[in-house]
């Protein structure tokens, strides 16, 4: 477990570094969303989750469900950094017969808890897992990361009701609130605000954080549940393309991948092995 937020920052940048190389090699992927979620995944995998790469299916593990499955890239990079899959396997991302599909598959990749890719699926599955733990009086927890645009899927709101109804204080929803979706800003496409109030109205305990501040993320995740008897919702304010100036907050980087030249500039910004970014 990493306790130093600065070390988490270094690791997150290393993950961004590997991620961009992987996306460039594959010529496919979701660059912007990968970069926006990198700090959240790094904090969870290196400081919060009770998981073991040597026993990825141990029954008492914490579950992490990536509902925004199109950001499989950052999940694979994180799983590789955490020792669930070999680092050099990242070179096979989206190649023929690779187990690293464009969207994660639990039957192929150790550490993946459920198959995602279609949006609005992760939260209901996470509720089922949290409910199973409650039925067994078990202490393991379930974390689920959704995109913000993804919340336009109605299934999330069915789930929002159920999580509060079942008092799932062992469930943590993290919303990657980068305010951009594939085509445009979320608020211009189908507005979501007041987002925190919506979750509160559904019976959740809500905290909003800077999704790139490792000290804040650490502190927030260590303090779940925020209230006993209520599911916790973390609205993580992030920037799509975080870490690379020309990608940051640009909708077109939703699923554009860096060319060789763009990669050179991006890696330069991130610093040697990703150890130097300031963004």
């Amino acid at each position: 477990m990493v306790n130093d937020p600065r070390e988490l920052g270094v690791r997150a940048n290393a993950i961004r570094h590997r991620n961009l190389i992987m996306l460039n090699r594959a010529g496919l992927g979701h660059t912007g969303g990968d970069l926006s979620a990198a700090d959240i995944l790094t904090t969870l995998y290196f400081s919060i989750l009770n998981i073991d790469p040597k026993a990825p299916a141990k029954p008492d593990r914490d579950r992490f469900i990536l509902s925004k499955g199109h950001c499989a890239g950052v999940l694979y990079t994180t799983l590789a950094e955490a020792g669930f899959i070999p680092l050099n396997e990242l070179d096979t991302f989206m190649q023929p017969l690779s187990r690293l599909n464009g969207h994660p598959n639990r039957n192929k990749v150790p550490g993946v808890e459920t198959n995602t890719g279609a949006l609005g699926h992760g939260l209901p599955v996470a509720i089922g897992a949290a409910l199973a733990a409650k039925l067994d009086d078990a202490v393991w927890r379930t974390f689920v990361l959704t995109g913000d645009g993804e919340l336009q899927e109605g299934s999330n709101w069915e789930a929002a009701m159920a999580a509060a109804h079942y008092k799932l204080d062992n469930l943590v929803l993290i919303i990657d609130r980068n305010r951009l979706q594939q085509g445009d800003a979320t608020e211009r496409t189908m507005h979501l605000e007041p987002l925190g109030d919506k979750w509160r109205a559904f019976g959740w305990s809500v905290q909003e954080v800077d999704g790139h501040d490792h000290a804040l993320l650490l502190n927030t995740f260590r303090n779940v549940p925020f209230e006993p008897g209520k599911p916790s919702c973390v609205i993580a304010h992030t920037h799509k393309g975080q870490g690379v100036s020309f990608m940051r907050d640009r909708a077109e980087w939703h699923h554009r991948v860096p060319s060789k030249d763009e990669l050179t500039v991006a890696l330069d910004e991130l610093g040697e092995n990703g150890h130097g970014s300031t963004l």
């Binding site: 029954p59 579950r63 598959n105 639990r106 039957n107 808890e113 459920t114 198959n115 995602t116 890719g117 279609a118 609005g120 699926h121 939260l123 209901p124 599955v125 996470a126 509720i127 089922g128 897992a129 949290a130 409910l131 199973a132 733990a133 039925l135 067994d136 379930t142 109605g154 299934s155 069915e158 789930a159 009701m161 159920a162 109804h165």
Partner: protein
């Protein structure tokens, strides 16, 4: 007139029996405790009856998560809403993830006849059997229903079971052993084969009895598992009886008849007749009336078989 039974009773009893010895079993419903007949389950295992309200997408996702957490969920909901409303969850959360969840499509087929096409579930077999990893089972009577539930609990992986509320007689012996993927031969015969499942198996048997009056000895197969289908039984029937009539309480597009035809045309082509709902939204009426309306009477089945035999002889 033989005594008629509601297969949901056998289903509910089997589920309670299983739950007594297998603490993994949970039942997930969408405000359908009464229509799924799981009130007794809830009385005996209150914590293990999860009612998600009227929210089928969430219901199937929750079931996948429960399986992820080590539970063995049986999801019970009206088949029309379970399969139709949550089809992508069935594909992604259950089948693609290979989640150990059993979907019980209650009141399937035309059981809600009078309520109209919103409540008819005559596409559920086509939808579920098109999805990789899915096992699809349609029991025909209370004995087979009970056996199928036990088999589902032993089977690891996603499964769809179609449970009717339409009263049916007992057609299997008490010691019948249901096996996933294996057809049951209910009547021997080498002139033609009738293949059915679910509520219309009894109609196939009645049609076979009528055929003997015309000197035609029909084989009757109960094809309870639609996927994986019993290829050997179908090839044997095609080879030995030279003609197949299928009947189902389902649209003829993509259901049992289609599944049988896929095997027949790629192995031993013989003439077939596929009886069922002919690709239309059904009018209102009771389930038995609708089955009669769509030509699933014993006489109409007999005539379809005779017509096939005649066509075969003149060909």
């Amino acid at each position: 007139m033989a005594q008629l039974f509601d297969c949901r009773d056998a289903f509910a009893n089997a589920l309670v029996n299983l739950a007594r010895t297998d603490c993994r079993i949970v039942t997930v419903v969408n405000d359908s405790i009464g229509s799924s007949k799981v009130a007794n389950f809830g009385k005996e295992f209150p914590g293990r009856l999860v009612n998600v309200g009227i929210a089928e997408q969430n219901m199937v996702g929750i079931a996948a998560g429960l399986a992820n957490g080590g539970k063995l969920p049986f999801v019970c909901a009206a088949s029309c809403f379970l399969t139709g409303r949550a089809l992508e969850q069935i594909k992604v959360d259950l089948a693609y993830s290979n989640a150990n969840v059993k979907l019980c499509g209650m009141s399937s087929g035309l059981a809600y006849g009078e309520l109209g096409p919103t409540h008819h579930s005559i596409e559920d077999l086509a939808w579920t059997r098109a999805i990789a990893n899915m096992t699809v089972v349609v029991p025909a009577d209370p004995i087979e229903t009970e056996q199928a539930i036990y088999a589902a609990a032993r089977f690891k992986g996603p499964m769809f079971l179609r449970i009717s509320r339409m009263p049916v007689p007992i057609i299997h012996p008490a010691d019948y052993q249901f096996e996933i993927g294996r057809a049951a031969c209910l009547r021997e015969g080498n002139d033609i084969t009738l293949i059915a499942n679910g509520t219309v198996v009894v109609r196939a048997l009645e049609a076979a009895a009528l055929l003997t009056e015309r000197g035609v000895h029909a084989r009757v197969l109960n094809m309870a598992t639609v996927r994986p289908i019993d290829r050997d039984a179908i090839v044997e029937a095609a080879t030995q009886t030279n003609g197949i009539v299928t009947l189902e309480e389902h649209t003829i597009y993509g259901g049992l008849g289609s599944a049988v035809a896929e095997v027949v045309v790629t192995t031993h082509p013989v003439p077939m007749r596929i009886l069922g709902i002919p690709g239309v939204f059904a009018p209102t009426g009771s389930a038995p009336w609708l089955l009669d309306h769509f030509g699933l009477t014993p006489i109409a089945i007999r005539d379809a078989a005779l017509e096939l035999i005649e066509a075969r002889q003149t060909a």
